[in-house]
Symmetry: C2
Subunit: 364 residues, 2 copies
Amino acid sequence: MSVDGKHEGLLVWQEEPFNAEPPLDLLRENFVTPTELFFARNHAPFPAVDPSQYRLSIGGLVERALSLSLEEIREQFPRRTQLVTLQCAGNRRQELMEVAPIPGEVSWGLAAVSNAEWAGVALRDLLLAAGIAEEGRHVAFLGLDEVEKHGERFGFGGSIPLRKALEAEVLLAYEMNGAPLSPAHGYPLRAVVPGYIGARSVKWLSEITVQRKPSSNYYQAHAYKLFPPHVTQETVDWERGLMLGELPVNAVICHPREGEPVPAGPVRVQGYAITGGNRTVERVDLSLDGGETWQVAELAGDALPGAWRFWEATVMLPAGETQVLARAWDSSANTQPEQVAPLWNFKGYANNAWHRVMVTVSPT
Amino acid sequence: MSVDGKHEGLLVWQEEPFNAEPPLDLLRENFVTPTELFFARNHAPFPAVDPSQYRLSIGGLVERALSLSLEEIREQFPRRTQLVTLQCAGNRRQELMEVAPIPGEVSWGLAAVSNAEWAGVALRDLLLAAGIAEEGRHVAFLGLDEVEKHGERFGFGGSIPLRKALEAEVLLAYEMNGAPLSPAHGYPLRAVVPGYIGARSVKWLSEITVQRKPSSNYYQAHAYKLFPPHVTQETVDWERGLMLGELPVNAVICHPREGEPVPAGPVRVQGYAITGGNRTVERVDLSLDGGETWQVAELAGDALPGAWRFWEATVMLPAGETQVLARAWDSSANTQPEQVAPLWNFKGYANNAWHRVMVTVSPT
């Protein structure tokens, strides 16, 4: 199976809904991920949208509800571009699954994350045009896709705090990497929320609602919540979970890959690091001795809030097997926890333990 | 020695400059810390300020430089109150010092942190009155105290990003807990920056400068930077450190204390947790088996950005010694790293490893 415009080499976890991540080595080749390689996370088939009939509604706690055509959105509001990395809350779930099973969830590896240049309008500009009522605290998004769940059909939805929604960098995007959004990535319009889990960047966007509380959509009120390790599908009280929003700090080694043999001599280690909110990745450390001693990696490019940061380092490895591990630090002095097991949660979210790769050096 | 208005029971690490923290059990008694117990972190003697001569200057990249008397500040700008917890970047340094020596720094225990209700004006309001030039990116503060360092005398200073400075919650405070600021806490005016290391909340404030770059003051450009474990005073390149700003997530067990004998039966464990930026503490977990299994603590009150959160739990401990440990999670799904050693840095900042306390239960 293939999806129009997507790379043949994607690791397709599910065909319908379409869930796929790029091979890690290809992902690390480009700071701006080519659209064909951009990971895909969906909960329903792509909706077919007739652009001439399309309207975006903005309502709820606003002074004047709006209903806008694509043309009105493009013409009435200034165009903005923004580099934004999206990451699925379930990125690195595979490592959690090795601790204990997580049934019913996609077994994402290390590449449910990608970076693109988005163009569109600032959500802020539309909200200010509608006028926000004093009681407004959250901005909810609803998509045109049709999820089937528990005998009901509904659009995928989610929300972000109003404070975040008013930041100029939160976009309603109609272009991705210089081309109109493809059906796979939310044509004709999608939210793009920098520094938040990908689920809040709702695709095929049809409704924006300003409200007192977070969205009551299944994907805000039930899924995408973080629970402690002892809670299971059987014992969960959905009200009590930590509603995911901003991403935690994370670093992933992309090269060498686990078990990949490398020739003797200096080894180039490369990866990406990411953090949430408006924070930036400020340092990546590597260790070859389980965290006893550390070597600081070189960071590529500037520290950009909302975007990942590439890093690399040259390490000297002895012949045989060595575990290489990485941890990142962000501008809030947050760093990553050491082990995966204490992070285990039955939905498999937010794994940001030190990333460990066993590298095999051929004897000379 | 005692300082006017401060509690006799404070643990005084240094008399001049005055550096002291409250006993942990007294700290945990009040969600709003009484001023007499509020920790004190200083780099110079308290300056004597004549309120009738006092002027606050606002300059640099602004449209009109301002020089304001106390009366003008109070009368021309709306009064705002804000609950803000300040925490020294060196809180929990003692545990880092147990890993390896950190000469020349205060050996803060677990209580270089306190919470107060501040009243004053929003920094934002003054900045908007001055008008910010387009190139402005950082807002620098300078105090009236006189630090002696490397043969020079200068006021303590620091800066915050303009984006932060424009948040309504950043205050220039003239009151603390319903009374005028005391000389020990910055009379007549101080910055109060929620969610940032305490060092950015400059006391005895005299100058505000809007500028392109962060402050070049010693305490922004050299001190209060985070370095990797292998960097020492001898090898440091000050340019390369992570400039501390927003606090990382942290949790501390206040009761029982290390080694404190408790009677057999249910043990009430109590503590505080804190995080940075506008994030909130969303969960605190306790473990009695080194992180294998976890129990979720009860959180007190609401999740307030910029303020700490009290928590407590009842645990069952066997007779003898048990290590109780705590970790917090914030709204960004960041949690704490496990061990202190991999966080060691030669200035002793930002220790947020799992807090571990050995509790001794008397046999029944």
